[in-house]
Amino acid sequence: MNILDMTAVELAAAIKERKVTVLEAVEAVLTQMEKSEETFNCYVTVDKEGALMQAGEVQRKIDAGELTGPLAGVPVAIKDNMCTEGMLTTCSSKILGNFVPTFSSEAVLNLQKAGAVILGKTNMDEFAMGSTTETSAFGVTKNPWNPEHVPGGSSGGSAAAVAAGECFYALGSDTGGSIRQPASFCGVVGMKPTYGRVSRYGLIAYGSSLDQIGPLCKDVTDCAAIMEVIASHDPKDSTSVEQDDTDFTTALVEDVQGMRIGIPKDYFGEGLEPEVKEAVLGAAKALEEKGAIVEEFDLSLVEYAIPTYYTIAAAEASSNLERFDGIKYGYRTSEYEGLHNMYKKSRSEGFGPEVKRRIMLGSFVLSSGYYDAYYLKALRVKALIKKAFDEAFAKYDVILGPVAPTTAPKLGQSLSDPIKMYLGDIYTISVNLAGLPGLSMPCGVDSKGLPIGLQLIGDCFQEKKLIQTAYTYEKIRGPFGRKEDRQ
């Protein structure tokens, strides 16, 4: 078996059995990068030397029996908004183009403890603001299924790297769908955990109350194994939760007998491409045939999710991004007169147009006189959306629907019409507003040959139900990947 065809868990097992060395695994991805990185541009930074060095160290620990976990020795890619000590961390923005953190994010540390080899940092929409990875200051990432199409975003680099075999799995972050949507567009598995599951310490914040780190990977088994490693209570993050149910791999059970699956009618209305609809409903039918109880229901308030999200996320972002001022780190304009001019020029030159748009929107909704009408109201709607989900989860174990209304659009089609781009987030955004876990996995390919994503949504801290449902569906569906991978 070609090393690159292995999943993360398969590779770790092969390394443990001494069929493959860590170095061989690292070299296999580095070779793949040489072939395809120029086309896809998945990475902002590839740390070739560092990866080769880590390979030796990790191999020694595995040989010494110090590292025995299911991910030991597996090379991973990290989205470029997670701090990595000593390694450039840019958020795909010019303003952090030279920023090297002094510490690593907690999720990355957890991976390293489990024996991960960090390959580098993946491209993204600037500060995670975007749905196509086209707003990056370091070039567009292309969809490995068809490089004329976007990989989705904002974790487009991570999703594309997994799909292109340029890593075995990756970390992404999801504020409004930024893991699930690119996973859907690139035909990989992605999960946004419950808010509070994974420490945000070291994740450069976009919308603090919505951001959550999660895996992008080849299959559901990998997803469960990665979740087991990155989920943890971190005293450095006040919003991180104490938890004793992180044995996600125990949910890798092929059984949906009696599982109650709700299909929100509101997710299948206008705007949804017929091919996507057909594939998603096909998945629901397949689960029903395996004994799941599937029924349609009305999930209210769906139309309010987008304005609510863009109000809250932009408000938090406008404040979170204030620290990028050219004084302490990052980009500073070359010529300026006085302090205020330095702020203005550094930020005007350092941020891209989508980031500026959201900073302006966020500053507006927080400004005095508008706070109540916009921000406070959005918080109230957020609470109502959570309530609507609570009611749904009183009846269902899992909610099933599409990830996005369409498959991956062509490059260059989205940014000219931001409202349309924002509308593409309609099915993923409510999950962040309600703090719920959501999983995205491929359920078919459209007539253009692009993958279609299925989304499973669970109640807070019910990731295991998602994993069990997804694992069962994966068995029904069979292997999935790009044509050339399957040959």
Partner: protein, 476 residues
Amino acid sequence: MAKQYETVIGLEVHVELATKTKIFCGCSTAFGGEPNTHTCPVCTGMPGSLPVLNKQVLEYAVAVGLATNCTITQYCKFDRKNYFYPDNPQNYQISQLYLPICRNGKVEIETEKGKKFVGIHEIHMEEDAGKLIHDEWDDCSLVDFNRSGVPLIEIVSEPDMRSAEEVIAYLEKLRMIIQYLGASDCKLQEGSMRADVNLSIREAGQEAFGTRTEMKNLNSFKAIARAIEGERERQIELLEEGKKVVQETRRWDDNKGESYAMRSKEDAQDYRYFPDPDLVPIVLDDAFLDGIRRKQPEFREEKMLRYKEEFDIPEYDIEIITGSKHMADIFEATVALGSQPKKVSNWLMVETLRLLKENGMDPEDIRFSPEHLSRLIALTDAKAINSSVAKEVFEVMFEQDIDPEKYVEEKGLKTVNDEGALRKTVEEVIAGNPQSVEDYRNGKEKAIGFLVGQTMKAMKGKADPGMVNRLLKELL
């Protein structure tokens, strides 16, 4: 007839809390470290860092709130106050606007005009900013983040004060409460207590408030009193000239005795406050509040009453001793070791206050231990040393907290009570000072003082002056 004006004053008092670590990270709050040595990713606003509340800050804030009769907000939150300034590493300050920890309190103050209450609008918790150092030589500014994230509470009064005297009584009252709680040392000069004065004037009898200004940079009670007087006069002058008072923040220059309008931190003062999503709401249950209530110390008023009942010392002494929690602690501990209250009080009131004044120190700076003071008193009680030796020993004790017993032993300072030896010295002094002996015999009573002095000198101070006197008179 000239119009009569009433001054209306409210205060915003910032108090640095005496926690060991900062409000949202584990860095030290110690004052005076090398620049940027008490810092970490959190208090320097590094990307990806997150705040975690120091529980001690909450406890101090609640303790101050309870001691000032506030209602404690049992569901409270932190908010971000957004403004750009280089000493503010995140470009937002974590503070409280919507749900401050304490509200609706009051404290009683006393001035020559009598007693009155000053209302407390709210107390909120927040983080301090760093410090900017302007290097004029290199024409640049440097930032020191050591102070960034040091916990503060801001105590906002109602506009209930009418004179500088009331303002100072109010500040003294707050300082006493907070020092007694151990929540801060409240030193204005060092900035651990900072007061901003909001002042307006109105014609006597008028109901509506005038336009107020906020005065900053007040580093002593004297500066506060001068600034109040100066601002009152400035506003009256404006009104008399038919001009208007502008609502603004002004900076007091105590050397020049005048203030000037400060440039605002931002051109438009819209702080865009919103709840900090990185911090979870704080829910305080009744058990938590009861726990703090139980730990509240005996405050000054109660202590004064108790002293009056328990100790036979003058009321003035009680006022001075209880004016510092630290001094009161030393007093009580020394008495508890068996020393007579009056004697302990004397040492504190006379020698201690003198040395504090000479060294420009506060009562909080007293370092000698109650054990040593009590031993010193025991030595004098036993007449093992005379009073002038005791004072000498006390000075060393004040500086270095030495054990007086050991010190007296080592330096051989014990009083010589051997009459034979003393008589011999007295005879020598009489023989060696014929002129003074002559003077004394001619009725100059004062001359004996000189002879006593000479004897003490010869004895290196180690004689009982009473005995010297008696022997001299006897031998003359």
